[in-house]
Point group: C2
Chain length 329, copies 2
């Protein structure tokens, strides 16, 4: 089992370190946050404030380096990677993927990189909130990119396999997606819901005590995620700006069309019927029977096969040597 070096020991990084250790891996962590390091050491983990030292150790051990710092700190940490572990196997757990992919190509181009996004979290933060089971049953995107000619080779399959192996050790299922497909999809499924919840809470709040008195289930459900810590929501939405803008435009277009139709003809059938059908289709896709699949990463077309399966929403649940096992609808 490959060693794991986690940079950043908050909720997600701490949970990765705990899960790696629980799986029996040799693992260590480093963080700029003195309180997280202190808490991790107190819990018996190998943690240090010396990020450079931790990376140098990773280079010596050919460990998988996991970047678990906020998007705004990625560039700084990548500079340390380029200095102390320039050829390492590298992944990250940031909630947007194209900006990190681009930063790696710019700052640490020799790293063997496959980006990751474990789709799990809690309202808490910091090492003290971390658990080894945070990712149990979660979906963990591990990014894969086709080659775009000789200058841009596709994703390093060793980096992809090692990142996926860590996700499996943590109990997650893995879906292979290009960074842009990931970012565009989470803009629809997570970032837009957070912005609409904020808008709805604002409009409902304009109704004052009467809104509080008449609020029913539709408002409670529609505003729930507006209770998420604002800095977390800002980090993921602002970090995904490029993918979120067209999705926001789509939502504005649909809401504006509803407004126009209500004002002109008085009818809202197009909006409401289509929304009902779209939810039914999503629910049906989620419940559709799935077929087992296996994929051998040594096969010459394995990168294409990974991407083709991911595009259809297929995922993997385990790895035996180089052979993945999973399912697809």
């Amino acid at each position: 089992m490959r060693d794991v070096c986690v940079i950043g020991l908050g909720l997600i990084g701490g949970s990765v370190l705990r899960a790696a250790a629980l799986a029996g891996r040799s693992s260590w962590g480093a963080s700029d946050s003195g309180s997280d390091v202190e808490a991790a050491v107190a819990d018996g983990f190998d943690a240090t404030a010396d990020v450079a030292g931790a990376l140098a150790r990773a280079a010596d051990a050919d460990a998988l380096v996991v970047l678990a710092v906020p998007l705004t700190a990625i560039d700084d940490v990548l500079r340390a990677v380029a200095t102390h572990a320039p050829n390492c196997l590298l992944t990250d757990v940031t909630s947007v993927k194209a900006p990190v992919r681009d930063a790696v190509a710019r700052i640490a181009p020799d790293a063997r990189y496959a980006g990751g996004h474990p789709m799990a979290g809690t309202a808490e933060s910091g090492w003290k909130a971390a658990t080894a089971t945070l990712f149990d049953g979660a979906t963990w995107v591990v990014c894969a990119e086709e080659s775009a000619g000789d200058d841009e080779p596709g994703t390093d399959l060793t980096a992809w396999r090692e990142s996926a192996a860590l996700a499996f050790d943590a109990g997650a299922r893995v879906i292979a997606l290009p960074a842009l497909a990931h970012d565009g999809t989470v803009a629809r499924t997570s970032h837009l819901p957070h912005l609409l919840a904020a808008v709805l809470a604002n409009v409902a709040g304009g109704g004052g005590p009467l809104a509080a008195a008449l609020a029913a289930g539709s408002l409670r459900d529609g505003t729930r995620v507006a209770g998420t810590r604002p800095e977390l929501v800002r980090a993921m939405t602002e970090g995904n700006r490029a993918a979120l803008l067209p999705v926001l435009d789509e939502a504005l277009g649909l809401l504006g069309a509803a407004r126009g139709s209500l004002a002109s003809t008085g009818g809202l059938a197009a909006t409401i019927d289509a929304g009902h059908d779209a939810l039914a289709a999503l629910t049906e896709q989620q419940g559709a029977p799935r077929t087992p699949v296996t994929l051998d990463l040594r096969a010459p077309d394995s990168l294409d096969a990974l991407l083709s399966l991911g595009e259809r929403g297929g995922w993997f649940t385990s790895l035996d040597g180089d052979v993945l096992t999973g399912e697809v609808a």
Copy 2:
């Protein structure tokens, strides 16, 4: 206890008739729907397809007439009221109030009317879904209007009291609001949530199988009410057009501002922080300690007192003679 005549025997009308009967009232119902009448009679209730006859009987008994038909059928039923029970005590259970108030003034101006909206429902419809406990613990708005000069007297307090008494018999709490305040508030707390859920389901659906694979709690919560039967959502949103349009404009304005800010400065703090604070304020208002109040409907300023309490989100839970008991934050 005053007799009750319910016109319309679907989910809401059927539940009103069942609750009135359970409270020991002499009660009867009528409906154009043969299947609802048949089902009600089979369940041992006094129900008929003869709407005119049921209204004439209400006029003889000075019963409270409850209109429980869709908004689109209100005008027709009001014409029958004007013919067969022109001076009756009248309420309704339609989800928008200003349009019904205006229709009553136009078609059955001699009825002693106080509009109502019991805020309860299920996904089911028809007599077979009706239960005597549907309104237990629900908020039931009973509309009250100030006098606007000699030509427009305020709400008839007998009609208000009798409508509220029926709501209390059904286990609901009663809030007194002008029709416009009701319609504007439910546009914010119920109709906008339904439209945003439809828009979100549509945008998420555009993400195809990947959206289904990556969907998390924020999407599930944000789209839940898009599963409501489209004809119900259309009826309440289209029926509340006048109040819903400015609320839609508010939502469009906030979402457009978020879009503009993300595109220009890259920041979403204004939207996200304000949404978080608005939800916290709503939740705080809902959990605020409440003080007991009583209100004597015989007092000369009782209509003003009712309205002033309603405006602050205060509600009543019981009636003893002419004295209401309730609470306000």
